[in-house]
Symmetry: C2
Subunit: 350 residues, 2 copies
């Protein structure tokens, strides 16, 4: 608020403002003037259109009751679901609901399965702050990797807040993983997901190790919500630049508390960057230069590398949070899916 | 700007608000209010001290004459050279001047050469905008990789602007490379460099291919100045956040023009991101979340990957341009050197 006040004062909108006492500023903090950031011409035209969109209108909406949360979730889901039929048709996949270990899932199967992938399965966990994208609304990225990569993908419709806070999502994820292990070798299983789903992906490996389960063959956490405590440089540098998340101070911070339900946000099952990452399977991480979670991504990458894990990082030019999978006609989305498919192909057993 | 205005209006700071003329702003550009960015606690204490430094005082100094450029270069060099004896001692290396193919160089040799590195040589190209760090002032990173990685490193003291503009630096680089090829197999040669040196590294591979020379075994361009035209998202998003380069609008933009000396800045020998990167050797790229050249780095990474090249990316949390090698006692600097050494060890011939 102080920044805005100063800004209003400087442009003459308000008459005056007392100077900030020197001690009020943390030593070494960077003071930035108001500025305008253009749409980067270095992204594809398709992505430039997405980058140019106004800020996500829900970023600073904080529902006050469970009913308000659910109304917002439902409105958001309806928008997403409307885009699916065209994707399913363009990418030549089949989507079938299935219950696995009492957990709702969707099995996404490509019309043409790559021969090398016949004995492989990918488990997918959608994003949405552990509250958005129930049911079919969580399917988009699963459809993409099934279609572009010719993999069988099980998209897990894990339970979410407000009705089912932590650790319900993790319990569902592990139940599906345990069930999948009955028919598929661990090293033939890949796990991927974006944002909240990237956090689940990382937390599953931690929990599998704790529970003595074999680890998956490879994982692809996309811009994982690896630290829920608003700790990390890009929470500040990309605040207001990322047009998807926009800021942690609003909807997402509230969603974190709703999901955590009183648990310590630094618990590695909620913020896996605080976990011990030694022994992780090969991992590929994805972010964008404008991503509020750029630091959430690169911190996990560095920590994995320091633990001796084979870990790859890719950062897409100009993209905000999770935009890399937002348009199946954009070169970036095709590139992203091809990279993830190639990584799983290189590292999963057959 | 519009959001802030609306916000001011909403909280009652201003009485009303006229609509901004639509044509005044590029469609989709992001309007940011003034703000304060704290020092990230997620960097090491050593790097937090570096991140907390004030903006590089030369960032907006634009010398008007050759004499003014040289005075600034000399003052800057003296500062850097003063830090070398302690580094040389701590890292147990020997530094000897040598003339190779009529080019001034320094040969940096570790006290203990790794047995696997006996038949390997690394060529190093310092940064400094093609104008800063002549002579010993360009040695720091060469000393580090020789010391941490136990490699023999030839640090090339290439000619620079204003006396020797483009393509003098490239001519020197290629002369040393050709001479090195007489005694060392190409696949046993690694090339690395930061900033301007990262650009030289990339441009050397392009020129070696054009000239029919065998390509080096692996390269490590650190935060390369791959696009001199101020094209790329982080030129804008990290403007004023990066405390090393700060902005392209000042010293660095002037240095680019001084070095290019009338040549097209989009010539791939000046801006290698515009080159054809097919057939490049394995490449590891490094940047930081605050780096003005984050986009210069990730654009090259994506382009290499799209060309099917084995290319790795690492982005250090909270660091501005080239800070990853700034303190041999910081975990990030040790981590950086270990990663580059490991990459060369994996990919160079023996």
């Amino acid at each position: 608020m102080r920044h805005v006040l100063e800004w209003c004062a400087r442009i003459g909108l308000i008459a005056g403002l007392a100077a900030a006492p020197a001690a009020a500023q943390q030593a070494g903090s960077r003071q930035l003037p108001a500025r305008t950031i253009p749409v980067p011409q270095t992204a594809s035209p398709e992505m430039q259109a997405i980058i140019a969109r106004p800020l996500n209108p829900i970023w600073n909406v904080v529902p006050k009751t469970a009913a308000e949360w659910k109304a917002l979730v439902a409105a958001n889901a309806a928008e997403t679901i409307a885009t699916l039929p065209a994707m399913i048709s363009a990418l030549h996949v089949k989507v079938e609901p299935a219950t696995i270990a009492a957990v709702k899932t969707y099995v996404v199967t490509p019309e043409v399965m790559a021969p090398a992938n016949r004995n492989r399965v990918l488990l997918y966990f959608h994003g949405g702050g552990f509250v958005l994208r129930p049911g079919e609304a969580g399917l988009a990225e699963a459809i993409e990797l099934a279609g572009f990569g010719h993999f069988k993908v099980i998209s897990v419709d894990y339970r979410m807040a407000p009705d089912f806070p932590f650790p319900a999502a993790m319990d569902d994820a592990m139940a599906v993983y345990r069930e999948t292990l009955k028919t598929t070798k661990a090293r033939n299983i890949g796990i991927f997901g974006t944002s909240a789903g990237g956090s689940i992906t990382l937390a599953m490996v931690l929990r599998a190790r704790t529970e003595g389960l074999p680890l998956p063959g490879a994982i692809a956490p996309g811009t994982p919500w690896s630290d829920m405590t608003k700790t990390g440089d890009s929470y500040f540098t990309n605040d207001g630049i990322d047009n998807v998340l926009v800021s942690e101070d609003g909807f997402w911070g509230a969603a974190a508390l709703l999901y955590a339900n009183g648990h310590d946000l630094k618990d590695p099952q909620l913020s896996p960057v605080y976990g011990d990452l030694h022994g992780f399977p090969p991992t590929i991480l994805t972010s964008g230069t404008r991503d509020l979670f750029l630091s959430n991504t690169v911190r996990v990458h560095r920590k994995l590398r320091q633990a001796g894990v084979e870990a790859q990082l890719q950062v897409f030019e100009g993209l905000s949070h999770a935009q890399y999978y937002r348009d199946i006609n954009a070169p970036e989305t095709i590139d992203y899916n091809n990279e993830i498919a190639r990584f799983f192909d290189q590292h999963l057993g057959r």
